[in-house]
């Protein structure tokens, strides 16, 4: 079987993904900056109005009353539609490629690896770093359902809410809103950074309600990763690189936890073993 040497290093697809993630972070930061500038605070809606999840938070009140929750507006629905459109085609690809919070978590995990013993990242090889940790399966598996419970709780709370239920606890607002005007937001920011250093993509794995809403599309989306079972030798390189810790990646490419980052495809050393197929 022919091996592709280029895949031993950071692939072009990974570089493209990191560029897009960087653009998403920069764009979100600019929205935050725009809202702390004098006289600009109310222009174009509040910071929350630029959040796709705000569309879920305000959907039920809007359908019931014809009015969105405070700090959200109709733009939230357009952004939500964008994320759902991506999910319809490619599952949780938004999480893997375009979510600013996902990007920051990956960067923090990279930093944690560097600080705790990894000198150079070798693709597909287990890192010698002490962080981030991998939680035991007995803890990890039940915790993965927490995000679905959070999603259900937020939708239920939105019925009686005035502000979006996640407004005071939103890690995106804490990270990019640039207005840490409550102790609670500082705590959220601290916990977010700490958890991301300890466990890679902690928020995506266990907490993110938008991830929960799009996870169901992984089973239905027509653009998917397909593994040639005869070529795959179960080497486990893809599992090492998976930021979501999906077990047995070669057999679980449609797992609800997969964020379609394609790091497994980039890492696979056997050509034409992991490919993308539409339909």
């Amino acid at each position: 079987m022919r091996r592709d040497r280029g895949k031993q290093m950071a692939g072009g697809l990974t570089r493209t993904r990191r560029s897009l993630q960087g653009a998403a972070v920069l764009g979100t930061l600019l929205i935050g900056v725009r809202h702390v500038l004098p006289g600009e605070a109310s222009s174009g809606g509040a910071f929350d109005a630029f959040c796709p999840f705000g569309g879920i938070e305000t959907l039920v009140p809007y359908v019931a009353t014809g009015s969105t929750l405070k700090t959200t507006n109709l733009l939230n629905f357009s952004l939500l539609l964008g994320v759902l459109g991506v999910a319809l085609l490619a599952g949780r690809a938004f999480c893997g490629w375009l979510c600013p919070l996902g990007a920051v978590q990956e960067w923090l995990a990279m930093g944690a690896r560097r600080l705790t013993g990894e000198k150079r990242h070798i693709r597909g090889k287990q890192s010698p770093a002490r962080l981030p940790l991998t939680l035991p399966a007995a803890v990890d598996r039940p915790l993965r359902y927490a995000k679905y419970v959070i999603l259900a709780a937020i939708v239920a709370l939105s019925v009686v809410a005035v502000y979006p239920p996640l407004h005071s606890l939103c890690p995106v607002r804490a990270m990019f809103g640039l207005r840490l005007n409550s102790a609670l937001l500082w705590i959220v920011l601290g916990l977010f950074v700490l958890s991301s250093l300890l466990v890679e993509r902690f928020s995506c794995k266990y907490l993110c309600p938008l991830g929960a809403a799009t996870a169901v599309f992984n089973k239905l989306a027509p653009l998917r990763i397909v593994v040639d079972g005869e070529r795959c030798n179960r080497c486990g390189r893809c599992e090492v690189e998976c930021p979501m810790g999906v077990a047995a990646v070669h057999a679980n490419t449609n797992d609800p936890e997969c964020i379609r980052c394609l790091e497994c495809v980039e890492t696979c050393a056997r050509q034409e073993t992991m490919v993308l197929e539409l339909g």
């Binding site: 072009g12 697809l13 493209t16 993904r17 897009l20 109310s42 222009s43 174009g44 809606g45 509040a46 929350d48 109005a49 569309g55 959907l59 809007y62 359908v63 009353t65 014809g66 009015s67 969105t68 929750l69 405070k70 700090t71 959200t72 507006n73 109709l74 733009l75 939230n76 629905f77 357009s78 952004l79 939500l80 539609l81 964008g82 994320v83 759902l84 459109g85 991506v86 319809l88 085609l89 490619a90 690809a93 938004f94 490629w97 375009l98 653009l223 394609l262 495809v265 980039e266 490919v275 993308l276 197929e277 539409l278 339909g279």
Partner: protein, 52 residues
């Protein structure tokens, strides 16, 4: 149908732009003020969101 992995980012970004644009075209546009948007009841959009 096989899709080249190099085309994946373009497909994702184009899909996002397309659907956000669709939402904007249907009237779900940014509004001034601190939120509480109302008035642009677009039944087709709500039906689409419901289907999704």
């Amino acid at each position: 149908m096989r899709v080249k992995k190099e085309h994946y980012p373009i497909i994702i970004v184009a899909t996002l732009i397309l659907f956000v644009g669709l939402g904007l075209l249907l009237g779900f546009v940014p509004q001034h003020g601190s939120g509480g948007g109302h008035g642009a009841v677009v039944p087709e959009m709500m039906a689409l969101l419901g289907v999704v």
